[in-house]
Symmetry: C2
Subunit: 330 residues, 2 copies
C-alpha cells in the first residue's frame, strides 16, 4: 500500500487572469497560446496594462495535484512559494483541496511566482510567468518519504526553466525508481520543448521518465516533425507509454504495441482553456494509479479537461469525483 | 458639464470566494445571506477552514463604481486600502476598469480589508468581512473637486461600521449639495440597518441623502414592519426617491407621487448572488445620471444584476455597455 497515488512537482504559481482581445497580445508581443517567461520589470509593465483581474492558485503540476485530490486520489506536491501573501494563498488553496504540501517556503525575496494570463474571446490562454521564488526549488526540497511512497511521480517540463529544479527531479526519480515506482512528465509547452529538446529526450531514453503527457504540438516539436504519425511512432520507442492530447479531437494512448484513440468529452462553450492539459493528466493519473484501463484513464482525463475549460481559472470548482460519477465516467 | 457621473464611497475590500454547503455555515455560526463582521483572529480561523478559493476585488460601492464605468459612465471612488499586496490588487482592478481612484493608501498596519465569501449551492453568498485599513477612512480622504463635480455621490450604509467614515460622508454630502448635486445611499444589509436605523433615518430626513437603494428586507428592517406596502409608503415621505429591489420579483421605484414596478431580467441559473444589489445600483445610476427615465434606469439595474449573479465574483466579466446594447437595454 502506498501513501500517495501521485506526487506532483512543479512551479508554484498564482494566476492573475483577465480577458483581452487579440490586438492586445500583438501590441504587447505576447505569444498566443503559450507560456511566456518574463522578468519583474515586464511583469510590472504588463500588469499596468492588464484589465480587471481575478486571482487563483495555478501552476501546471499544482493544478494536476489538485485535480487528483478532487477525484478522491491521494496526492502530494513539491513546489516553492515565498513567505508572502501570494504564498499564503497558494499554500491555503492546495492544502484546502486535500493535497499534502510541505515544501519549506522561501524567507524573503524573490516573491511568490505569478502568471498573468490573458484569455482571448476564443477561450485561448496566453501566459506570462514571473518565476519568483520558484527559482529556489532544489534537491534540498525533495522529501524522500513522499517520493518513495507515491505510485507515480509526475513533473512538468517547465521545471527546466528555473536553474536547480532539475536536480530535484533527478533525485526524486532515482528514489521513486529505487522503490519500484514510475515517473511521468508533461512536455508542458512547444517552446519549452524547443528550449530543452535534447534533455527531455535524454530523460526518456535513460528511463528517468517512464510516462509522457504531451499535446499534439509539443509532441511534434519534440521530434521536429509536422507528421503526428511519425511523432507517435517515435515516442512509442522512447517511453513505457504516452498520452497525447488533441483538443476537440480527443486523445491517443501510445504504448510499445498499442495505439488507443479516445474521443473528447463534448463542451458547450470554451470559456478559458487554462488548465486543460493539467486536468487531463489529473484524470488520467487518478485512473491509472487506481487500476483502470488506458481507455478509461483517457476518458477521465478528457472529462476533467472538459470541465475546466468551461469556466474561468485553472482548477474546476466542482468536486471531480462527484461530477464524474454523476456523468457516468466513474 | 460635470467631470463624473457617479462618485462612490465605500469599504475597499478584496473578496476571497469559495463554495460550501449549508452545514458549514451552521457549524461556523455564519449568518446566511448577510455580512458578518469579523476580527483578525476569526479571519484566520475561517480561512483555515475554507476550501480552495479565488480572489477578486469587491466591496459594495467599489462594485458599483466598476459597474458604472463598465456601462461607459464616468465614475470615481473613495476607499482605503493599505500599501500591501491586496491593496495593489484592489487599486489595479478598479483603475483598470476606468474608475478614478486616488485615495492615499495607508502605510503599514492594519492590512487591506478582505471578505471571505461562502457561496452555498443555492447561489446565496454569506460574507465575513475583516475591515482592516477601511477603519482609517476619514474626512481627510475627501477630495472636494470630485465631490463637487459628480452628478451623484453614492455611498454604502456599511460605512457606519468603521469609526470615522461617516465624517467623510457628511463632509462629502455637504460639498455635493453645495454644488447642486444629489446624494444617494444603499442600506447595505438588514443587520446593518438594525445597527444604525436611527442614523440612517436621520440622514434621509435631514436631506443629507436624497436617493435610497434598498432591498425588500433592508427596507422592512428600516421601518420595522413586515409589510412591504407600509415600508414603501414610509420611505416615500423620507427621500426624493427610492429604488427597492426584490430579487426575482424585480424592483420598485418609489417617489413622492409615483410607484413604478419593473420586472426582473430572467436568469438561467443563479451561480453566486454576490454583487447583485451593487450592480443594480450601477445600472440605475448610470441611467439616471445620463437622463434616462425611472423605468429605463430600473431595467438597466436589473440587467446588470442578472449578469453578475450568473457568474462567480462581484463584478461582471463582460463589458456592460456592449452587453446591454446587444440585449436591447441600451
Amino acid at each position: 500500500m502506498s501513501d500517495y497515488d501521485v506526487l506532483c512537482i512543479g512551479n508554484a504559481i498564482v494566476d492573475i487572469i483577465a480577458r483581452c482581445d487579440d490586438d492586445f497580445l500583438i501590441a504587447n508581443a505576447i505569444t498566443k497560446g503559450s507560456m511566456n517567461l518574463i522578468d519583474a520589470d515586464r511583469a510590472e509593465l504588463l500588469y499596468s496594462r492588464m484589465g480587471p483581474a481575478i486571482e487563483a492558485s495555478g501552476g501546471s503540476a499544482g493544478n494536476t495535484a489538485a485535480g487528483v485530490a478532487s477525484f478522491g486520489g491521494r496526492s502530494a506536491f513539491f513546489g516553492k512559494v515565498s513567505d508572502d501573501h501570494l504564498g499564503t494563498i497558494y499554500t491555503h488553496d492546495i492544502r484546502a483541496q486535500g493535497v499534502a504540501f510541505d515544501t519549506r517556503p522561501l524567507a524573503g525575496e524573490p516573491p511568490t511566482a505569478r502568471s498573468m494570463i490573458f484569455v482571448t474571446p476564443d477561450g485561448e490562454r496566453s501566459m506570462n510567468t514571473y518565476l519568483g521564488s520558484c527559482v529556489e526549488l532544489g534537491a534540498e526540497d525533495v522529501e524522500a518519504s513522499k517520493a518513495e511512497s507515491a505510485r507515480v511521480t509526475y513533473f512538468e517540463g517547465y521545471l527546466w526553466d528555473p536553474p536547480r529544479a532539475k536536480d530535484a527531479i533527478r533525485l526524486t526519480a532515482g528514489i521513486a525508481h529505487g522503490a519500484g515506482r514510475e515517473v511521468a512528465m508533461t512536455l508542458s509547452d512547444p517552446f519549452c520543448v524547443d528550449r530543452y529538446r535534447d534533455e527531455f529526450l535524454d530523460l526518456m531514453r535513460t528511463r528517468t521518465v517512464d510516462i509522457v503527457f504531451a499535446n499534439e504540438h509539443e509532441l511534434k516539436s519534440l521530434y521536429q516533425t509536422e507528421s503526428l504519425e511519425l511523432a507517435v511512432d517515435s515516442i512509442r520507442q522512447d517511453c513505457l507509454f504516452a498520452a497525447v492530447t488533441r483538443s476537440e479531437k480527443g486523445s491517443i494512448c501510445v504504448s510499445r504495441d498499442e495505439t488507443i484513440e479516445v474521443e473528447a468529452v463534448p463542451v458547450e462553450e470554451v470559456v478559458d482553456t487554462t488548465g486543460a492539459g493539467d486536468l487531463y493528466a489529473s484524470g488520467f493519473l487518478y485512473g491509472y494509479t487506481n487500476g483502470l484501463d488506458m481507455t478509461h484513464c483517457a476518458r477521465l482525463g478528457s472529462f476533467a479537461a472538459a470541465l475546466v475549460i468551461q469556466q474561468i481559472g485553472p482548477r474546476p470548482a466542482q468536486n471531480l469525483a462527484q461530477a464524474a460519477s454523476q456523468a457516468g465516467y466513474l
